[in-house]
């Protein structure tokens, strides 16, 4: 389910409607000892210019294969990859070795890794200079650019240190500075925060967010942590068994009835306290988040409402909340109050009922 461009985007961001990364029917099949494993099964991904796009899934879902196919570290079995208007799959050639054109294209795509992948034999500054050496820049230009980038990621004082002397978060900052050395338009992040503690994760994500805003950098990140999507992503996709099962901007996802991603972003607990009760999930976002709808509902219909669970957060710069409430009476008795909530522009899910209807509707 891909929600097409043309839908409203959050006003704060630098997102445009141009697609900067597109994969079309991307398939990757690994063959080993006569067995075939399908890692990617027809993936269509559309990342718009200037957005932070998160691909989330459990390990083995194929997200790692997907991001490695974007710069062709893995050759897709079939399908195409287009980055910044350039069809990379057409540049790939037949052999496993990357030709000159593909290597040039790669130098314009930054990549950061889970385990940082810094050269232990080089200082921090020399690590950042490495991509510039590959680009054939002169010594003076290299060191000027490297120091500038280290300043940008807040490590200007560590230029002469070796990676072994740095903490995990600092190493990843060096990794990010190195990835930016070739002035890329696109940054690929392969589980960049998965080896870091929660606090360092937050600071690295904040850095990625700042770079996205300041440089208009498009970021494609893969992660297995919902918090990463929640704190930095404009758009997200959920991968399962090599397929993208849901995708769209975070607000679109939250507005989609029965969205697994939305439910995972805002997990709600709480069971009905009796047979003759109706549980309703209410999702607020944007304007509707500021209206006192629950007390209006209570007053208008003179019913007692219990709150079973609630979460309010900022996702991609938007105020979003979800609440699970319980109304007296069966679903049939509550059609009118639920209709009232819908009229107020809220997203209403009735657990166990609505999702069935949606799935039937989708078929």
């Amino acid at each position: 389910m891909h929600l097409c461009p043309g839908t409203p985007t959050p006003a704060h961001s630098t997102v445009t409607e141009t697609h900067v990364i597109t994969t079309t029917d991307l398939t990757k099949v690994y063959r080993s000892r006569g067995r075939e494993v399908t890692a990617l099964d027809g993936v269509d991904l559309h990342v718009r210019e200037g957005e932070v796009y998160g691909v989330i899934g459990q390990s083995g879902a194929g997200k790692s294969s997907l991001i490695r196919c974007v710069n062709l570290l893995e050759r897709p079995t079939s399908g195409t990859v287009t980055v910044a208007g350039q069809d990379l799959t057409a540049l790939a050639g037949r052999g496993s070795r990357a030709g000159r054109e593909l290597r040039q294209a790669r130098s314009r795509i930054g990549m950061v890794f889970q385990h940082f992948n810094l050269l232990s034999s080089r200082t921090v500054q020399d690590n950042v200079e490495l991509p510039l050496e590959i680009l054939g820049k002169s010594g003076g230009e290299r060191s000027r650019k490297a120091l500038e980038l280290l300043d940008l990621v807040g490590l200007a004082d560590k230029a002469g240190a070796y990676p072994a002397q740095l903490s995990g978060g600092q190493k990843q900052r060096v990794g990010i500075a190195r990835a930016l050395a070739g002035d890329p338009k696109v940054l690929l992040s392969d589980e960049a925060t998965s080896a870091l503690d929660p606090e360092t994760t937050r600071s690295i994500l904040a850095l990625l967010r700042d770079l996205n805003r300041q440089l208009g950098l498009t970021v494609l990140l893969i992660t297995h942590e919902m918090d990463v999507v929640k704190s930095v992503c404009d758009s997200a996709a959920l991968m399962e068994n090599g397929r993208i099962v849901e995708s769209g901007t975070v607000s679109e996802l939250l507005a989609t009835p029965g969205s697994e991603l939305a439910a995972a972003l805002f997990p709600l607990d709480g069971e009905a306290s009796g047979e003759d009760r109706t549980v309703v999930d209410v999702t607020f976002q944007g304007e509707s988040a500021t209206q006192p709808v629950i007390s209006q509902l209570a007053r208008t219909y003179n019913i007692d409402i219990s709150i079973l669970g609630a979460a309010i957060d900022t996702v991609g710069g938007l105020q979003v909340g979800r609440m699970r409430i319980e109304l007296p009476g069966r679903y049939e008795d509550n059609v009118v109050p639920i209709g009232f909530l819908r009229e107020k522009g809220l997203q209403i899910d009735v657990p166990g009922r609505e999702s069935v209807l949606v799935k039937e509707g989708a078929k």
């Binding site: 710069n71 570290l73 496993s96 070795r97 990357a98 290597r103 040039q104 294209a105 790669r106 130098s107 795509i109 990549m111 890794f113 385990h115 992948n117 810094l118 050269l119 232990s120 034999s121 080089r122 490495l130 991509p131 050496e133 590959i134 680009l135 070796y162 990676p163 072994a164 002397q165 190195r178 070739g182 690929l188």
Partner: protein
């Protein structure tokens, strides 16, 4: 035999050993380094995957390594004459020493280079680096501490091999120990030779370990210490 008689003999022998081992080490490094890297690159899943080339190089290396040095020296006589114009003397001994040490060193290089984290290779590929860049900027510098340890091991092995070079009249400490110490019952001279060899080998080992460790310290987070690798390689 008095010390004044022994001294010129020992001096000459030291120089002969140094000369043979020095040159053959140099040739072994120059020849074995690319060979060892090729063994890694052409292997299955390598950057220049070529199973046939890998098998061929691997077999040549294995055969050359399995020959006892004294046999290698005899077997290579024609080749030696072709290169140096003679089969006797220090220069003639360098040829079989180098030929024996190249595959030895190549295997050590292979082990060292294989231990470089594949993630680093991938990072440089993602930057747009080609295979030659990866070899120059990643594989060699990142495995340098191990490569130095491998060189130390090779030098020590070559000192051992060079003892047999006396059979082609190349001299050296081993030759003195056999001809004077063993065959003429000059036990004193023999022990002195043994002592010199022990000191020389200790010094080389110490210098090599020191160099490897000081390089390794800055990248202390990856891989086992070079000392452990050395033991593994020697066993």
């Amino acid at each position: 035999m008095t010390w004044s008689e022994m001294q010129p003999l020992l001096e000459q022998a030291c120089w002969d050993t140094l000369y043979m081992v020095g040159w053959s080490t140099l040739i072994a490094v120059v020849g074995g380094l690319p060979l060892g890297i090729l063994l890694v690159l052409t292997d299955r899943g390598g950057l220049l995957q070529n199973v046939v080339a890998n098998k061929v190089i691997g077999q040549i290396v294995n055969i050359a390594r399995s020959l006892p040095f004294i046999i290698l020296m005899v077997a290579l006589m024609t080749f030696t004459r072709w290169i140096t114009g003679t089969t006797i003397g220090r220069e003639a001994a360098i040829v079989p020493l180098a030929v024996g040490a190249i595959p030895f060193f190549a295997r050590l290089v292979e082990t060292a280079v294989r231990e470089v984290d594949h993630g680093l290779v991938e990072a440089v590929q993602a930057m747009g680096g080609n295979t030659w860049t990866i070899v120059r900027k990643v594989l060699v510098p990142e495995s340098l501490p191990s490569l130095i340890s491998s060189t130390t091991t090779t030098i020590v092995a070559l000192i051992g091999y060079s003892a047999m070079a006396g059979t082609v009249g190349a001299g050296g400490l081993g030759d003195i120990a056999i001809r004077y110490g063993y065959q003429r019952f000059e036990t004193g001279l023999m022990w002195i030779t043994v002592a010199i060899l022990a000191v020389v080998i200790s010094l080389i080992q110490f210098a090599g370990d020191y160099a490897a460790r000081s390089l390794h310290r800055r990248g202390a987070h990856s891989g086992p210490a070079p000392k452990l690798r050395l033991l593994k390689a020697a066993s």
